[in-house]
Amino acid sequence: MQTRREMLARSATVAGLLAAAGFLPSSALAAWPQAAFDAKTLADAVKALGGSAPVESKDVSITGPDIAENGAVVPVGCATTLPGVKRLLLLVEKNPNVLAAVFNVTDAIEPNLNTRTKMGQSSNVFAVAMMGDGKVLFASKEIKVTLGGCGG
């Protein structure tokens, strides 16, 4: 029978091997939701964060430009008018990894976050509100991305 010490030592070795093979996250934080950030769809990302199937809602908003001159920097905002939101998520449908950010909202701030995200191509962008009562609501907006000319 393995002692606890032996088991831990083995886990560490396996972890080391996995890390060397590039399978473990290059993450310094144990709490970083790796599975969610690896997800390829909105539904999978939400599921990885423990949420139920997302439902479209007019009480959630995703703001941003209709067209972005450069996909490297696209200003986006996610918000909800409903009270009791626990998390606001930002996702870019056609990015290699769909989830861009998770905001853990407290009562001390307004449930309205603005940031800038990279977009690999024209795509739908989602704002998702994970509510305290378990409901998961989302809104979507299409943002077109162009490649400009000469940088003037």
């Binding site: 941003g64 430009p65 209709d66 067209i67 972005a68 001159e69 450069n70 490297a72 920097v73 200003p75 800038r116 077109k144 162009t146 490649l147 400009g148 000319g149 000469c150 940088g151 003037g152």
Partner: protein
């Protein structure tokens, strides 16, 4: 009664349709506006501001006695008067070459070494940061380059010649892109730099943070890249041709409001 209501609704629908048809140019303008607040250039401004008063270099001195054209240490308003003639170096200098002069004279840095350093690295990155802050200190002010000294006028004329000089594999000149109204490359409108193109346009919009590569671009780098795009050999940093072109553009932009440091694609 019913007919009137239907027509009313149809008219409303048409209006709504027309308004929803935002032009691409409007869309781009909206995108650019959204990025104005929170320009990453501020990060470089902060760096430049710190570098100005920090004691550095072999002489362990700050740049606070650097004369940018309005007297030693006067920063506010200096950006919109450059390039200009400097008696101590006996040259017409732009902001960046002037900064290198000051870094050499006041702080003991090796000017030739800085000039050779690629953009974005080492002391050259510091020059860019300083230029960003110094430009910010003149934000909102209008360009007013002096042309009182004979050399300033000569430099302007040289700049004009250089602007229209066609060369390289594609027989381009600056004027090929910037010599007329209404020119455009894909979605980029090209300002006419033979005259004042307006507030915050052309010469009045650099240094600028370029979102496409996340880099802070000074006028020297902008010109360097113009030469590359024309398939010209790279100009030397602070070389006569770059100062001359900057003088040509700067004098033409007289009265234009500077928005530097700006944010660009």
């Amino acid at each position: 009664m019913k007919t009137r209501t239907l027509i009313g609704v149809a008219a409303l629908a048409l209006c709504a349709g027309a308004q929803a048809q935002k032009s691409t140019a409007d869309g781009i303008a909206e995108y650019r506006k959204m990025l104005e607040d929170g320009n990453p250039a501020e990060l470089f401004e902060a760096k430049g501001e710190a570098l100005w008063s920090q004691k550095r270099g072999p002489k362990n001195a700050s740049l606070e006695r650097c004369d940018l054209g309005l007297g030693p240490g006067v920063v506010k308003g200096a950006f919109v008067t450059l390039p200009r003639w400097f008696a101590d170096t006996q040259k017409v200098q732009d902001l960046e070459s002037r900064l290198v002069s000051c870094m050499a004279t006041l702080q003991g840095f090796d000017a030739a070494e800085i000039v050779k350093t690629p953009f974005g690295r080492g002391e050259m990155a510091n020059v860019t940061a300083l230029a960003t802050w110094i430009a910010a200190e003149s934000r909102g002010m209008r360009f007013n380059l002096p042309q009182s000294h004979a050399q300033e006028r000569i430099t302007y004329e040289v700049g004009k010649r250089a602007f229209f000089y066609r060369g390289g594999t594609h027989d381009f000149s600056c004027a090929s892109c910037h010599g007329d109204e209404g020119k455009r490359i894909r979605l980029q409108e090209l300002p006419n730099l033979t005259r004042n193109p307006g507030d915050g346009i052309g010469f009045a919009a650099w240094p600028a943070y370029r979102v496409s590569n996340g880099q802070m671009w000074s006028m020297q780098l902008r010109l360097n890249d113009c030469f590359r795009q024309q398939r010209f050999p790279y100009p030397g940093f602070g070389s006569d041709v770059t100062i001359a072109l900057a003088t040509y553009m700067g004098v033409n932009a007289k009265g234009a409001e500077s928005i530097a440091p700006a944010i660009k694609r």
